[in-house]
């Protein structure tokens, strides 16, 4: 369907210009020329599944861009605008403890962790796909042991099972994501060892069956379910 695609392209730039994503989230926005775009968007969304899927995809992409986002109690995430700058009202929240930090895809390194380690009430930390986070960085996380409950290291190219051994200090950890770590030599075995090391923690990552090979006589075929009478 060529025509809808053309119209989709037209729609997308207008979105970014007017912070349409926030509008999609349901926040209050000023009236005016948004009304016209909203009705056109609604119209398109109602009539084409592709538009809805595209809108959902663009929303997800905006949310996981290369910016540092924070969340504080009972409020939304604080996000930077399209230039990567935070709004000046951010300064008013200096005293509020930071509960969660999303540093996915961020170029944070060993020295940069200095800033995160000062957050004594941090409960959730996401370091997904950070290119410079390695085993040395993981050995620095122990000051967060009292508060940290959720940690995600999915997709970090430099983290290996040797760094995961340092997570032993984080005894309050309840959810740990170690999926897609290319530097881990034996993902299945590592998952088991990490689960043994942190018994109160739900370790998400590798299915233990990944390291197993299929036997020669087993066929990957489900038996046919009986036809309901």
């Amino acid at each position: 369907m060529a025509a809808p695609w053309l119209s989709l392209r037209l729609v997308a730039p207008m979105w970014n210009g007017t912070r349409g994503i926030h509008r999609l989230g349901g926040a209050v926005v000023p009236e005016g020329n948004q009304k016209k775009e909203r009705t056109m968007l609604q119209f398109l969304t109602d009539h084409f599944y592709d538009v809805e899927a595209l809108r959902g995809y663009l929303l997800q992409r905006e949310m996981s861009k290369v910016h540092l986002k924070n969340r504080f109690r009972d409020k939304e995430w604080i996000r930077p605008d399209k230039y990567g700058h935070f709004s000046p009202e951010f300064w008013n929240f200096r005293e509020v403890p930071v509960e969660a930090v999303d540093a996915s895809d961020c170029e944070i390194n060993y020295e940069g962790l200095d800033n995160l380690l000062l957050l004594k009430e941090l409960q959730s930390l996401s370091l997904q796909r950070c290119p410079h986070v390695d085993d040395w960085c993981l050995s620095r996380l122990y000051p967060l042991a009292d508060s940290l409950q959720e940690l995600s290291l999915a997709g970090c190219p430099r983290v290996s099972e040797r760094g995961l051994a340092c997570l032993y200090h984080l005894q309050n950890l309840r959810r740990l994501d170690i999926s897609d770590l290319p530097a881990v030599s034996n993902p299945g075995l590592t998952q088991i060892l990490v689960e043994e090391m942190l018994p109160n923690c739900q370790v998400v990552g590798v299915n233990w069956a990944e390291g197993l090979k299929l036997g020669p006589e087993e066929q990957p075929q489900d038996p046919a379910s009986p036809v309901p009478a």
Partner: protein, 486 residues
């Protein structure tokens, strides 16, 4: 006519430089040209001529500013920092002479590979902290174009030192010093220890110190290989040979107290090739003794220790080889992934090796039990009688274990105070030491290398002051004792 032209061309070549001595310096295929010339001569001249232009690529250069005796991690570290800190690029010619290119007996490769900051001396702590940051940033320090990045396989699991009642006070004061220097170490009571590591039996343990950051173990071969690769790219010369002689010149001088003192200076080093009587005299300005367990022999060649005992001339370098065993065992119910390197009150130590429930460890023997360092044969009875009982007491899971393999290596043991010797000799003015670290040479190599390079280039220690490690202390009798030796 052709003969005259050839000989004339050869004559010029002979006068300027000896072909084959400088390897890899030219892109004009010098070796190829040389072999072509040799072929031409053979075809022209009657009979079999004696070997014109013999192949000398295995010999070291005739002149070198610095000759480093010993190609282990300490020698290579000194070479690296000399080239890195020199003021003019290519200003200093450094030659590393290593007797055994397979490193079969070198302490570096046989080492357990641990790094920790839990020492009693501030200088040792600072050296170790610097080495940790060196290893962390190793791919910036030792980057070579088009070479893959180094993976040290560093396990940041930390060291856990256990102290009995009588050592507890010393441990507490040590930890205070370590914290002051910036090491991240914490003290634990037996209850906390049981909570943290339930597989430990805390009987007899009064206090424990646990390193949280910058401590662990890594692969020493990777560091060695990385250093060699980087040095080759920096233009350092390597030679496989043995130093058999120093040619020195002496000067008699009067001190301010009107005493006669003979100052020696080494101006030539004879490097003998393997399995041959061939040797090459290398003119040099500075010699660095980084020969590890064999440093005393090198020092004796320079005349250190030849004199009446009790005088400065008669003070020998008190470094001797001591054999230490390392055993690898398998224990399926042993401690898990979080296991640090545990050093027991009895001196026995162990650490996890890999993911397959394997552990390695050992114990330093007492003075009476010292094995004969003539060879590197392993005494398995030592494990059964002197190591296993202590391990099984401390970690009950180790009562059932199976030894897989074992090896032995040398400590370059400083019999005086078990700490390194760094810096120049007072009488042999151009011999610098970087040896005698008694089991913690690998973890201090980057810092020591930098200190020796600073001493040579600037005349004094710039970053970490290693004056307590100078040679003079052996004559003056001032011990720089390190209490935490494994």
């Amino acid at each position: 006519m052709i003969r005259r032209v050839l000989l004339h061309g050869l004559g010029r070549g002979l006068l300027t430089r000896r072909p084959g001595t400088r390897r890899g310096g030219f892109s004009l295929d010098w070796d190829g040209k040389v072999s072509e010339i040799k072929k031409k001569i053979k075809s022209i001249l009657p009979g079999t001529p004696r070997d014109l232009l013999p192949d000398t690529s295995h010999l070291p250069p005739e002149h070198s500013d610095v000759v480093i005796v010993g190609g282990g991690v300490l020698g290579l570290s000194v070479a690296y920092w000399l080239k890195k800190l020199e003021n003019r690029q290519g200003g200093m010619r450094v030659l590393v002479v290593e007797r055994d290119h397979t490193y079969s007996q070198a302490s570096t490769g046989l080492s357990v590979g641990g790094i920790c900051q839990q020492f009693s001396l501030p200088e040792n702590i600072q050296l170790s902290l610097f080495s940790a940051s060196f290893l962390r940033n190793i791919n910036e320090y030792l980057a070579v174009t088009n070479a893959p990045p180094l993976d040290l396989q560093f396990n940041p699991s930390g060291y856990l030192l256990l102290a009995s009642e009588k050592d507890a006070a010393a441990m507490e004061s040590n930890v205070k010093v370590q914290k002051q220097e910036g090491a991240k170490v914490c003290l634990m009571s037996p209850d906390q220890l049981r909570n943290k590591f339930p597989w430990i039996n805390t009987e007899g343990v009064a206090l424990a110190s646990y390193g949280m950051e910058n401590e662990g173990w890594f692969d020493p071969w990777c560091l060695l290989h990385g250093l060699r690769q980087k040095l080759a790219s920096m233009g350092v010369f390597f030679c496989q040979g043995e130093v058999t002689r120093f040619v020195t010149s002496s000067q008699c001088m009067l001190t301010t107290n009107d005493e006669m003192v003979t100052l020696k200076s080494i101006h030539e080093v004879h490097v003998k090739m393997d399995h041959s009587l061939e040797y090459q005299p290398v003119e040099c300005a500075i010699v660095i003794n980084a020969a590890g367990a064999w440093s005393a022999q090198i020092a004796a060649l320079a005349g250190i220790g030849k004199g009446p005992p009790g005088t400065l001339q008669g003070t020998k370098l008190p470094v001797e080889p001591r054999k230490r065993y390392v055993y690898v065992w398998h224990c399926p119910q042993g401690p898990g992934l979080e296991t640090p390197l545990v050093a027991d009150t009895s001196g026995a130590y162990f650490r996890r090796e890999g993911l397959g429930s394997n552990y390695l460890g050992g114990r330093s023997p007492t003075e009476e039990e010292e094995p004969d360092p003539a060879n590197l044969e392993v005494d398995h009875d030592f494990f059964q009688e002197k190591v296993w009982p202590h391990l099984a007491l401390r970690v009950p899971a180790f009562e059932t274990l199976k030894v897989q393999t074992a090896w032995a290596g040398y400590y370059d043991y400083n019999t005086f105070d078990q700490n390194g010797v760094v810096g120049p000799h007072p009488l042999v003015v151009n011999m610098y030491f970087a040896t005698g670290f008694s089991g913690h040479g690998l973890q201090q190599a980057p810092g020591v290398g930098r200190a020796v390079a600073e001493m040579i280039l600037e005349g004094s220690f710039q970053t970490i002051d290693l004056s307590p490690f100078l040679f003079n202390r052996f004559y003056l009798g001032e011990k720089t004792q390190e209490n935490n030796i494994m």
